[in-house]
Every structure is written in C-alpha cells, then in structure tokens.
C-alpha cells in the first residue's frame, strides 16, 4: 500500500507550463495522486450536484409549460411568457411593495439596532453582567419560527393575552393584533428584533474586541470624551464589518423569510402579508402552477444576485472592502 503511494507521490519532472492549460497527463496524475481526497469528497459533491445544481438546471421550466408527465425536456418552450404574466399580474405591485417594506424595516431598523446593541454591550465594563446579558439575548435565535409565532399568539391572544390586555388598555381599543393588517408589519419587525438582534451582535463584538486599545489611550490623552471615542475610533474600526454584513443583507433583501411570514399570515391580513416567497408557495405547491411560480422565484433570485453585486460594487467605489 505504502509502496504504491510512494511511487505515485514522487512526480516525474514536469514539463514547463506555458500559457496553455496543464496537459491531460497532469490531470490524470493529479486525480491518481489525490484519489483518496477526491473519494472523501464524493458524497459532498453529489449533494451539491443533486440538491443545489440540478434544481438550477430544472429552473428552465420557467421558460416552458411544464407538464410533469412530459418531463422537463418534453415540455414545450414558451419563452418569457410566465415572466410577462407575472409582471402584468395585478398582484405584482402589491407583492413588490409588501416585500420591499418588510425588507426595508429589517435593513433600516433591525440591522442598525444590532449595531447599537453591540456598541452598548461593548461599553459595559462589568464582565459578568456583559456575559449574562449576552447569554440571555442569544437564546431567542435558537427558537423556531413556529415557537416565536406561537409565543406572539399567546401574548396577543384576544381576551387574555398579557400584551393584548396591556396595549388595548393603553390605546383604549379592542384590537385583535394578530388579525389586524395595520399590526402585521410592527409584529413582524418586533419578532425579527426579538429573535435575531442579540445573535447579530456576536460578529460586531468580535470586531470590537479586535480594535487596538492604544488608539483609545491616545485619544484619552488628547482629551477625547466617551462619545468622541465611539464616534472617531470604535465606529470607523468596525465599518468594514458593517459594510460586509450590509452587502450580504442587501442580497437577501427579497428573501423575506418564508417561515415567519407564512406562519404570521392569515385570511385577514393577506393584503399586507403576501410576499414573493409565500406567493411562490401558494401558486406553485398549492395550485400546481409550477412553471409560473418557478419564473417568479427565478426573477426574485436574479434581482437578489444583482443587488449583492451592485452593493458590492458601490462599496468598492467608496473605497470600502467589499466581499468579492
């Protein structure tokens, strides 16, 4: 065994590599030499091919009239028809607005809230207290959306939910918050903040821990106050982390989080609750309009891709480190 490996491992002197690709013999030799490593990777590669790339091939049904009986290749081509249908659908402006509003709330309220919270935690000197608070605020991240939505339902339960009682007493109303379209977005945002703000601070706290302490010492000697230190040292130091996360978030902007929205939507708040993700589910899985809903999903994914490259490009133009 060892002997064979030995003979293969010692490569014969290689021909000098020109501008052309390595010759086929090198490829074969490489495969033989690394055969164990390739062998270990096989299940993983199979996974990516089957569950990640095969669907990408299958996404061509967005341009066909997919009939399960005929299969993908057997179904006839219809070009951009499904896309045109979707963009001219009266539901489209509403879906777009709902999706963008929910995404905007996350991006402009939940995301800054994470940064503010990380900064506040960073100013906490008592280490035990800091760690206790961190432990507590991370917990909600690990609960499922079903649990979060159920908790919301129990807290806002008509008649006996603590928050239902409290808010209605405060406002002098009898609102059913879970079914009222006006309350859908505030509740979604609240859930998002409750579930993920604490968790989001991890990466910022790590970035903050890496800030050079001598900068603070120098600033203090120059007479900088606490706020000035935050403004001129802390925030600029974590700017690149903020930018990278912002780019990633922007790419996800149209992925409103299927589970949360789906679980929170009901017959009464449909007008504000329908987003691209839930629409794909209802038209595709429930109504069987496979080609049409694939086109919707594809349009969404491509816009997401453009957004991620777009924000990355903008970040680079402003001399910030992007992700690519």
């Amino acid at each position: 065994m060892t002997a064979t490996v030995e003979t293969v491992v010692t490569p014969p002197p290689r021909e000098p590599r020109g501008p052309s690709r390595p010759s086929r013999r090198n490829l074969v030799q490489d495969i033989v030499r690394f055969r164990w490593l390739f062998f270990l990777m096989l299940p993983g590669i199979a996974y990516f091919l089957i569950f990640r790339f095969w669907p990408m091939y299958g996404a061509q049904i967005a341009f066909r009239n997919y009939v399960p009986f005929l299969g993908i290749e057997g179904s006839e081509w219809v070009g951009w028809e499904h896309f045109a249908d979707f963009f001219s659908n009266p539901d489209f402006p509403r879906l777009l607005a709902n999706t963008l509003i929910i995404a905007g709330l996350t991006l402009f309220i939940a995301f800054p809230a994470t940064i503010v919270m990380a900064l506040l935690l960073n100013e906490l000197r008592l280490n035990i207290l800091k760690r206790t608070v961190q432990t507590l605020v991370y917990i909600p991240h690990f609960l499922s959306w079903t649990v979060v939505v159920s908790l919301t339902g129990l807290l806002f339960a008509v008649g006996n939910g603590p928050l239902w009682t409290f808010l209605n007493d405060l406002l002098g109303t009898q609102t059913n918050f879970m079914a009222d379209p006006a309350w859908f977005r505030p509740l979604i945002l609240l859930q998002e903040i409750w579930k993920n703000t604490g968790w989001g601070t991890i990466i910022f706290l790590a970035a903050l821990a890496g800030v050079d302490q001598e900068q603070y010492e120098a600033a203090i000697i120059d007479g900088a106050g606490r706020w000035q230190r935050v403004r001129f040292i802390t925030i600029p130091s974590i700017m690149s982390t903020i930018i990278v996360l912002l780019i990633l978030q922007t790419g996800q902007i149209l992925n409103t989080g299927f589970e949360q929205i789906y679980l929170m939507s009901n017959a009464l708040n449909r007008s504000v609750a329908d987003v691209f993700d839930t629409y794909v589910y209802f038209t595709g899985i429930q109504q069987g309009a496979y080609s049409y809903s694939t086109a919707v999903g594809l349009a969404k994914a491509i816009v997401g891709l453009i957004l991620i490259f777009g924000t990355n490009w903008i970040a680079k133009r402003f001399n910030q480190a992007g992700i690519f």
């Binding site: 490593l37 608070v133 006996n160 409750w194 017959a267």
Partner: protein
C-alpha cells in the same frame, strides 16, 4: 503613562460625570433588554403549569397560584403528539450525523491547499450561497427522487450548509501541518489522518456545528410543510403550529373539525418544542462564539 497602564484601566480614568450617568443608564437598559429576551418564555412556562382558570383570568404572571401538570399529562398521553415527538428526535439525531459527516468529509480535502480543482469547487459552493434555483425546482427534484412523504426529505436537501462547510474547512486549514506530516511519515493514509488526527483535534468546532445542524432540523417547519403530506408523519413543529393556530383565523384552520385546544395545552406544547433546544444551548454557547468566528472573519 506606564503608571496608568499598570492595572490596564486607562480608558476609565478620565470619566466625566456624564460618562457615569451613561454607565448607569446603559446597565439598566441592557439588563432590561436581557430580561425582555426571555420574559415571553418565562410567561409561557408559568402558563404551562397554571390552571385553565388562571390563564383566562389573570393577564400576566410568572408564578402560577396553583401548579398543575394537567396540560403536560394530556399532551404526553396523546398518541399523535408522542409519535411526533419521537420521530422528530430520531430524525434530528440521524440527520445531524449524516449532515455533519458529509460536511466534514468535504471540508477536509478542500482544506488541502494543493488539491487540484479546489478553487473551482469553492467558487461553486459560494455561488450556491448567493443564488439558488428556488423552492419549486427543489421541490420537483425531491419529488422526482421519490422522497415525498419520506423523512429523508427533511435531511438530504439540506445535507451541507455551505457556510458551515467553509468555516469547518478554514478550521482544518489552520491546524498545524506538522501533525499531519508526521502521521503521513508513519504511513497513515488520508482516511487515517482524518479520523485519527484531524477530527479529534476539531472536536469543539464539530460539536458546535453538530448542534447547529440539530437545531436546524429540530426547528425546521418549511421542509415538513413542503414534503410531508401525510399527517401521520408530521413533525413536532407542524403539530405545534396546528395546536397553537387553531384558535386564530387562518383558512386552513377553519376546516379542521377538532375543537380548539385548551389554552394550557398550547403553552405546554410550546414548552416541549423548545426544551430540547434550551437543553442543548449551554453546550452550544460554550463554543459557538469561537466556532463561528474561526474562519468567518478571515474568509
């Protein structure tokens, strides 16, 4: 300067009165936030042990006047619930092992800098993080593979999380090369190096991602919703949804003939769906901050 730095307190030496006020406000604020993070949960815990009368008459409490385990008894004697619980546990355990094994097996070769094709494979993996074909094509593949109504549909389509793969790969890459080389000189092949050198050294990071995978499967609602039509196969999250939503007005609930369950049962079901995650949390917390950051910062 040296004198100030002696006890490493330099940045607090020059605090203004305003700074002290800020400290107090900050502490109060963060303690408040920390409390709010678990308060809903404590309320539901109290509610799950309270009588039906107390739940419907007292708006808020963290300690029931009269403790009863009636709600837990009724869900633990329900065959539907117990079956869902047991299958969810089994699917979570089996699924986690499969997912972790596949991820580690792929991460190890990718950690070898001289592996041919490594950059291409990594680029393709990253590509799947920013672009995916979407719900319907994936659903059709799962259907075509005959996995509908099979528990494999809850495990295989998410077998490797690209993010976890990259972090584990980076962790492997950081391990001292000398250990592997000496094992190789002793005649170990790649499989042997992986199992006897690399994996034992990576226990903390693997434990972290095992728990992430486990929490992911345990909490998953979308996969069972998409792939399990047979109600007898529903997982805990699906049952939880059915139990807690049955008093709200959603169209799929209106046609269920089951009477809305008592409030106490809803509280208890939420608890049971959460407790295993909370039990895993201390183990998870020990490692995740470190585990998450290894590699993710360096890219």
């Amino acid at each position: 300067m040296a004198a100030i730095r002696k006890n490493n307190r330099v940045k607090y030496r020059f605090n203004t009165p305003a700074g002290k006020v800020f400290d107090v406000v900050n502490i109060v604020l963060l303690v408040g936030i920390g409390t709010l993070a678990i308060l809903p949960f404590l309320y539901v815990f109290a509610g799950s042990l309270a009588t039906e009368l107390e739940i419907t008459t007292r708006p808020f409490f963290l300690w029931p006047r009269e403790i009863t385990t009636a709600a837990y008894e009724s869900i633990l004697t329900s065959s539907v619930f117990v079956r869902a619980f047991v299958t969810t546990v089994v699917v979570t355990l089996v699924g986690t092992m499969i997912q972790l094994a596949l991820t580690a097996l792929m991460a190890y070769p990718l950690a070898k800098v001289d592996l041919p094709g490594r950059r291409t494979i990594m680029a393709l993996v990253v590509f799947t993080m920013v672009f995916s074909a979407g719900m319907i094509p994936t659903f059709l593949i799962v259907k075509e593979l005959g996995l509908l109504d099979s528990y494999w549909a809850l495990i295989l389509p998410m077998a490797i999380n690209p993010f976890s793969l990259i972090i584990i790969k980076n962790f492997f890459q950081e391990l001292p090369k000398e250990l592997e080389e000496s094992a190789r000189i002793d005649g170990a092949n790649e499989l042997r190096i992986l199992s006897s050198v690399v994996l034992p050294l990576s226990k903390p990071v693997l434990a972290t991602f095992a728990l992430f995978y486990a929490v992911g499967i345990w909490n998953d609602y979308m996969s069972p919703l998409l792939y399990l039509n047979d109600q007898n196969k529903w997982t805990l999250q699906m049952i939880l949804r059915q139990v807690t939503a049955s008093a709200s007005l959603s169209p799929d609930d209106l046609n269920t003939e089951v009477p809305p369950p008592a409030q106490g049962i809803k509280f208890a079901v939420v608890m049971v769906a959460t407790i295993p995650v909370l039990l895993a949390y201390p183990f998870l917390q020990k490692h995740f901050a470190k585990g998450m950051l290894i590699g993710s910062v360096k890219g």
